[in-house]
């Protein structure tokens, strides 16, 4: 373990802002959800790295990452269900098509 912690943090920062760029740029619902996955992964890397390198005897970051993986799986399932429903109702998958929130 002779990798400086700054390298990991630089990696997760770059990954986070790539995700932010995708989230701002894309207008497809599935593509925006994929960008959110990138952001979540960068945050998970940060949790694991801080736990491992700064406090190797404890497990808070480890379990936070583990539960974050589970929560993001559930979030993806519900979001994809919503996207399928939006497509069924509006026949489009762009966010611009969902301008009125009434059914």
């Amino acid at each position: 373990m002779n990798i400086p912690v700054e390298y990991f943090i630089a990696l997760s920062t770059l990954l986070f802002f790539i995700g932010v760029f995708g989230f701002v740029t894309r207008r497809n619902l599935v593509a925006m959800l994929i960008s959110i996955e990138l952001i979540l992964n960068s945050v998970d890397i940060n949790f694991a790295v801080f736990n491992r390198i700064l406090f190797p005897a404890q497990f808070e970051g480890f379990f936070f990452t583990l539960f974050s993986i589970g929560v993001s799986a559930a979030e993806t399932a519900v979001a994809l269900a919503i996207i399928i429903n939006v497509y069924r109702n509006y026949h489009s998958d762009q966010v611009n098509s969902i301008e009125n929130m009434k059914f």
Binding site: I18, T25, A31, A48, F59, F63, L66, G70, L80
Partner: protein, 173 residues
């Protein structure tokens, strides 16, 4: 040294796939590049000797979430999503790029000015023992995590029911 080489390879794979995932126009390619990013992050966990976390990442993210994306893309339409060429406005790309660079500069300056991470402890290359993880995951004492564990099982059940309720076709009344 070997760790550093592995880290560089993983970082190149992760960042390259992430950039391709964001800028590619076809949505199915974006999902495929997301798969590579997830494998790279699992490799980072293996590099940190969090083997259990890497296995969970591969089985849940790469095995579950990516398959869910592929199914959703294939299910939504034959025409719209699979061969979708998305048009992106140039002004939106510029504003997104500007926003990302400003945020990146802010975080970078904070990280450079702040030197609390120089006090990093040297960690030996030992894998975290599995019985320690299991005891901490299912114990109810201090620094043990049975309550979030049970909570996330109820949460997953609620999400299963919610997903079915949202995605099913409405009855013809």
């Amino acid at each position: 040294m070997a760790n550093l080489v592995m880290f560089c390879i993983l970082a190149v794979v992760i960042l390259g796939s992430a950039v391709m995932c964001v800028i590619t126009k076809r949505i199915i390619r974006a999902a495929t590049f997301l798969l590579f990013v997830l494998f790279g992050v699992a490799g980072i966990y293996f590099l940190l000797d969090y083997t259990y976390l890497g296995a969970a990442q591969i089985s849940v993210y790469a095995g579950g979430i990516t398959v869910m994306y592929i199914f959703a893309i294939q299910l939504v339409s034959k025409r719209s999503l699979q061969g979708l060429i998305e048009r992106v406005k140039g002004s939106r790309v510029i504003s997104g790029l500007l926003l990302s660079l400003v945020g990146l500069a802010t975080v970078g300056v904070v990280l450079i000015k702040n030197n609390f991470i120089n006090a990093a402890a040297q960690v030996t290359d030992t894998e975290v023992p599995m019985d320690q993880i299991g005891t901490a995951l299912l114990g109810s004492g201090k620094y043990q995590y049975v309550l979030p564990f049970e909570f996330i099982s109820v949460f997953l059940l609620a999400c299963i029911i919610g997903g079915i309720m949202i995605a099913r076709k409405e009855d013809k009344k």
